[in-house]
Amino acid sequence: MVADGNTPAPPERLWRNPEPKRNYDVVIVGAGGHGLATAYYLARNHGITDIAVVERGWLAGGNMARNTTIIRSNYLLDASAALYDHALRLWEELHEELDYEFHFSQRGVLNLAHTEQEVRDARRRAFANELNGVDAEWLTPDEISEVCPILNTSNLRYPVLGATYQRRAGIAKHDLVAWGLARKCDEMGVDFIQNREVTGFVTDGDRVIGVRTDSGDIGAGRVGLAAAGRTTLLTDTLGLRLPLQSHPLQAMATEILEPVHPCVVMSNHVHVYTSQAHKGELVLGAGVDTHNGYAQRGSVHVIENQLAAAVELFPVFARAHLLRTWAGTVDVTPDASPIIGPTPYENLFVNCGWGTGGFKATPGAGWVFAHTIATGEPHPLNEPYGMERFTSGALIDEHGAAAVAH
């Protein structure tokens, strides 16, 4: 871990700010991590470069600017392990490919177990991970203390009985990820249209042929939604009802401290997750505010609860000053898994429902969504993730591994 003086100087140019053309082969709604990664892989893997990424605010200013940057792939079910570990493998090569250092740091994640049942569930998940080729270990409390000496394992209301440990997991600097992707997309000819809100669609019968925006229509051969918490506001305009509920999700950061926290720690039971950013802030998060909301603002009791948990787990945090808290708007599905696939409307595709865990999947989501848009068919990795699973009942229930936040 570095308390970091090594952040490279920003390159001279990142991306243009062009006026939109009248038509594009592909319009992507949302210039967050997933929208950027989708544009990137459309260009890289499918040779499609006539792309506009249309963004209501500024590039990577939504959840991409607000997440806690945790990357891991230790999910329980086969479909999830495949999707998230594919993403993790892409993370491992992405910075070289983008020629842009974004401080991907594989410092490992501990998922703590505090009850006998959690021990059984966590060990089951670690075994399932191993069967799926995802690295996972089970650590005893003594072994946990070696990995993370500042963690209080015994002198607390819910003692730490063990933890799963994924060494390949870690964090990355989210803004730099976005800028690296955007710069590369720009080089390949992708247009980023910022401060332009998509408000609906231009349709011809059951075909989507463009998007409506707050300053004029833009024609599109295909449209991909990567709009996170605001997805249903768009699909509602087509009468397309998706099983999504938008919630505030809060996170927070302390003042900058010396390096004290060597890894990522998550606890479902006492409900908090923490890491220390490269620059030195302790970064904390927990669950969504339970009510629906688009205000990008949550309630203080949610912060109070997770800080109480954090201070009990990490007594050294007690003297740290909280500097900032904030919230994003996340779209949560009933099974805590995303929806990625075609829609009943021809040429309209959705990538949504990532809930509280979308950042970790950024390159993987982009890869499979680009494939879905380019070919009109899901990639094998996102085939189980279509919206039809809410009719067939073939849910991908990841409430356990989606962990703290849902």
Partner: protein
């Protein structure tokens, strides 16, 4: 922190309540007559507007009664009106 108006106890902190989601989601009159898509929609799909939303709360740390309010999900403004019951979902 939201200030939630319980119809029986008055204005209380949000922490005293649990959230119940969209109001007026009725159990289908004859579920066996529904096709899979309609049943799936009943189970999984709820309205998700940015704006006025009829929703349920329960005063768990107070009178323990359920009630409905209208809240603007974009501004969090809560109105104590009783939501107008919609004809159909």
């Amino acid at each position: 922190m939201l200030l939630v108006r319980c119809p029986w106890c008055g204005d209380r902190d949000e922490a005293e309540f649990r959230y119940g989601g969209q109001a007026d989601v009725d159990y289908p009159a004859d579920p066996h007559q529904l096709d899979d898509a309609t049943w799936g929609e009943y189970l999984f799909v709820r309205a998700n507007p940015a704006g006025s939303f009829d929703e349920r709360w329960v005063h768990t740390a107070g009178c323990r009664r359920w009630f409905s309010v209208v809240r603007d999900t974009a501004t969090n403004e809560m109105r104590p009106d009783i939501p107008r019951r919609r004809e159909s979902r």
